[in-house]
């Protein structure tokens, strides 16, 4: 019997290429006659192009063409973002592109272009836009009214006056829902806590900027890009280029990080795609870090207020939330997720959620690893600590008291969880971190340093359902797993293939992963977002593996006699139960499948497959034994993963600097597919959260509307010395019963856990004082400790 590959450490099949420099990312491709494009970016946060004079640029030797916004199939209009625009809505939005024989020439040509911009009113701070007469990000309004329409949300001056400078003004909400009755909840509470809290926006900054290269051949667009998804990117690229999906070959074998910013393509891909068609040359658009700062997406920020009520026993009776979201110019949906995620931590008996998502003239937002979730966890967890202190309930205990069990529910509709081993994860974390002993260190002083300990519990969605799986056993006897999913860097490109190998009892070295190029006949899959991939695509490949098992049995019965149920499959052979000699190996099975044709080699496919999968199977037909299946496993309930992170820090009271001394995380993410990668995913997410809490910055000059944190050294993502040397990790490893594999996603939940653990530990070192803001930099901490004026107002954002 082959060893079960699920739950063991493997070396991902792409690792050797990655570490020898042979792995080619988008900017590593070259094409015969390739030329270069450069972008002209808006110098103002909101403007309208009155006129453009490109004559000097066009006269330059080596300039091959200029692309304007009106030449694109997808035009920038209202809330729809185009790759280029004549009405830029943030400083840095691309206005036009120039192609030239080299970048030096293209850059000089961009400089030689004269654009006459009409400056328009702009807004950075959502609260400013909410004031009567305050500026709007778009000419049409400051909120989305759905269906691409604008609305206007303005609050009377009295709302702002009533709130004062230190409390969130709460006028008419654009979104609201309740569970139970909030007043009753507070009536039943023994302790009530409330805070105004700011969570800043944060740029994604994946290591690989979204460079892309495109060329056309025989009417087909070939585009090299960096995305999280592969098959699901093709349609997006087709739309951007104005062609049918079947006329697009998308190549993206490696993605240098996305974190939600590269789910299925980027608007900017339209530039090389359309420009290369226009000038008849392959076009490389090398995106710089500076440009990535602008067009590379960011997490939406919140200005919020929360009030919580608890009974003396620690149970949360009421949670009242109001969030104002900084949506950027084109909107973001973090706000709605945030309220839902809060229920998955605390299961409040009564809850009210109110919010408003306000458009601003700042770079576009998109999902960023736990969108809405990370923010709300980091904002609310310190309040839970504050209540625990008042109630004299242990901080770990209060989380266990409120955490959902298997009868737990999610959100306003109170849908049931598929599984929730949250208390188990918390207990495991308490043991791993040694919470009972560590919490005794709280407030201990060593010279100028004070110890703080804290923890954060972070839930997030972890999958829904998969789409199609596609497997081929070729005459070489190997199992080819065709992956429509992208290789987004999490090792899931390999890990999600494991169920197929397990169902067929095949050793891992007999498995070949096919991925990263839509001309390689890839099945339709889910998008690589929302921590979907592991949950969804293990299901799809389990379904395909099961279909392959059936085909092998049927083929064997047909060729060797007996009924399909007489046959077993193991170690690359299909054979009669009890007689391994009576059968054939996979190579033979592939040959016979090809000879037999029909459903054995792709001639007939299940009707419920997506058309893209059917086309992929048709492309492979006759090349081996082919099994394709749709994931028809159960879809009921909400699939959630929880991560608990525990942190011990030292705060230097003379400088405001914080050092993390110890860090431990645990998770309930269902069955562990790949222990080492799971730990890495968790620690990496925790570190990203710590980065947001500790120092990643997003700073604008408020007068000019221009960001300053547009390079790494000013945006300050965490380096190797900013995180602890040896974070610890453990998983509950209980299967989720809704899937045959039992795995739930892990990408997103760790972020909020790391962020909250850090914020709570810092508050603990300050005697329970919550500064209620991220990032929490040394200047803010020191000002508080020294009793000096706060560097920023409580509601101030973009600082």
């Amino acid at each position: 019997m082959a060893e079960n590959v699920i739950g063991t450490d493997i070396s991902p099949p792409d690792l050797r290429a990655k570490i020898t420099g042979r792995a080619r990312y988008a900017e590593d491709f070259r094409a015969e006659g390739m030329v270069f494009a450069k972008l002209l970016l808006s110098p103002m946060p909101h403007a309208r192009v009155r006129s453009v004079d490109t004559s000097a640029a066009e006269a330059m030797e080596g300039v091959l063409g200029i692309l304007r916004a009106d030449e694109l199939p997808v035009q920038s209009e209202g809330l729809r973002e185009g790759a280029l625009t004549d009405e830029p809505k943030y400083e840095g939005e691309p206005v036009l592109a120039v192609a030239a024989v080299d970048e030096t020439t293209a850059a000089a040509a961009v400089e030689a272009i004269r654009v006459d911009f009409e400056q328009l009113p702009f807004v950075l701070d959502p609260l400013e836009s909410l004031r009567e007469g305050g500026p709007d990000a778009h000419v049409g309004g400051n909120i989305s009214a759905g269906r691409g329409e604008f609305g206007s949300l303005k609050w009377p001056a009295s709302v702002f006056e009533e709130a004062g400078a230190d409390k969130l003004p709460m006028g008419e909400a654009a979104a609201e829902w309740t569970i139970g009755d909030i007043e009753t909840g507070f009536d039943e509470a023994d302790v009530v806590v409330e805070e105004t809290i700011v969570h800043q926006s944060v740029t994604h900054h994946p290591m690989e900027p979204r460079s892309c290269m495109a060329y056309w051949q025989n009417g087909k667009l070939f585009l090299h890009g960096s995305t999280q998804s592969t098959e699901r990117t093709r349609g997006g690229v087709a739309g951007l280029a104005g062609v049918e999906p079947e006329d697009v070959v998308f190549i993206g074998e490696y993605c240098g990080g996305g974190f939600g910013s590269k789910i299925s393509g980027s608007p900017i891909m339209a530039v090389p795609a359309v420009l290369s068609r226009k000038i008849g040359r392959p076009v490389m658009l090398r995106i710089t870090r500076y440009e990535e700062n602008y067009i590379g997406r960011a997490r939406a920020g919140f200005q919020g207020w929360a009030k919580m009520g608890f009974r003396a026993d620690g149970r949360m009776t009421a949670l009242d939330l109001y969030l104002v979201q900084d949506s950027g110019p084109f909107g973001a949906s973090d706000l709605f997720t945030a309220g839902t995620v809060a229920t998955a931590s605390y299961q409040p008996e009564n809850m009210r959620f109110r919010g408003a998502a306000i458009l601003t003239n700042t770079p576009p937002r998109s999902a960023q690893r736990a969108p809405g979730g990370a923010q709300i966890v980091a904002m609310l967890e310190p309040l839970v600590d504050k209540a625990a202190r008042e109630l004299d309930v242990d901080r770990l205990e209060i989380r266990k008291i409120n955490a959902p069990g298997h009868d737990g529910w999610l959100g306003a509709r109170q849908t049931p969880f598929t599984s929730a081993y949250v208390r188990e994860a918390l207990d495991l974390g308490g043991e791993l971190f040694n919470w009972e002993e560590k919490k005794q260190l709280s407030g201990q002083r060593n010279g100028t340093k004070v110890t703080g300990v804290g923890m954060g519990l972070s839930p997030f969605t972890a999958g829904s359902a998969g789409r199609d799986g596609l497997l081929v056993i070729r005459p070489d006897g190997k199992l080819y797993v065709h992956q429509g999913i992208g290789n987004l860097g999490t090792h899931s490109i390999a890990d999600t293939a494991r169920p197929a190998a397990d169902v067929l009892d095949l050793s891992w070295d007999q498995v070949v992963i096919v991925w990263g190029d839509t001309s390689k006949h890839l099945p339709f899959s889910t998008v690589q977002a929302g921590s979907q991939t592991t949950h969804a695509h293990t299901r799809a490949n389990h379904a395909a593996g099961t279909a392959m098992l059936g085909l092998l049995q049927e083929l064997a019965a047909r060729e060797l006699g007996g009924s399909p149920t007489d046959y077993r499959v193991a170690d690359g052979r299909v054979f009669r139960a009890g007689n391994r000699a009576a059968g054939m190996n996979f190579a033979e099975a592939a040959r016979r499948a090809i000879a037999t044709g029909g459903k054995f080699s792709g001639g007939v496919v299940p009707e419920d497959l997506n058309d893209a999968t059917k086309a992929a199977v048709a492309g492979l037909a006759g090349e081996g034994l082919i099994a394709a299946a749709r994931d028809n496993y159960s879809r009921g309930g909400s699939v959630y993963t929880w991560v608990a992170t525990f942190a011990q820090i030292e705060l230097d009271v003379e400088t405001g600097e914080v050092e993390i001394i110890d860090l431990a995380s645990t998770t309930d993410c269902g069955t562990v597919m790949h222990p080492r990668s799971l730990a890495a995913q968790t620690n990496g997410g925790v570190f990203q959260g710590i980065g947001m809490a500790k120092g990643q910055r997003w700073v604008f000059d408020p007068k000019w509307g221009i960001p300053f944190t547009k390079r790494f050294y000013t945006a300050r993502p965490p380096g190797i010395l900013d995180v602890p040397l040896s974070p610890r990790f453990a998983a509950v490893d209980e299967p989720d019963p809704r899937t045959p594999v039992g795995a739930k996603g892990i990408g997103e939940p760790p972020v909020g856990a790391g962020e909250a653990a850090y914020v709570c530990a810092v508050a603990d070192a300050m005697g329970g004082l919550c500064l209620c803001r991220t990032p929490l930099t040394a200047d803010m901490i020191l000002a508080e400790l020294e009793g000096r004026p706060r560097p920023y107002g409580l509601l101030e954002t973009h600082v």
Partner: protein, 210 residues
Amino acid sequence: MLQTEAIQARRGGFTRRKFIKGVVAAGATASVSGYLFRGSGIFAPMLTAQGAVERLVTLTVNGQQRRVDVPKYETLAMTLRYQLGLTGTKLGCDRAECGACTVLLDGVTHYGCSILTHSVQGREVTTIEGLEQDGELHPVQQAVMDEGGFQCAFCAPGFAMSMVGMLEKNPNPTREEAAVLLSGNLCRCGDYDKILNTAMRAAELSRSRA
């Protein structure tokens, strides 16, 4: 020009004449045709000013001499990526901030994005492509394989070069010392724990091979 060159020759500095001779003997010359438009020279002065450097340079990259026509303002990372086809050296920021472009010059780590190609003549340039010897992975690369290192791995070549530089400097580092020596490289996936495991494993493998 003549005056400067004469001085160079006398002092044994890097004399252009000597270099070109050396290259002709070694033979290897990089092509600047095809897609390699970066060096087309439209904006570079057509004639070299008196006393200024010539565009044609000889580089020693991964043990091979490569003769390349390089604009005077071009950085090493660009030359490696767009003239010599060595795309393992990545550009993550092009500002000496992220380390994805880290290469070795005479065994010492440098940001390839922030040094002129013309400034590295006479120095041994080592890139990620130069680590593997006769199909055998360098201990650093083997350590990555052993530890399942990196996630998106866009930072991996740069980190690997920093690890090679680390081993040159401190073959037996503590985890903390390794972190300091690797602190010029960023990993946005936050895979620092596994990167340090890899660094420690690399040191172990390197010692056992030595």
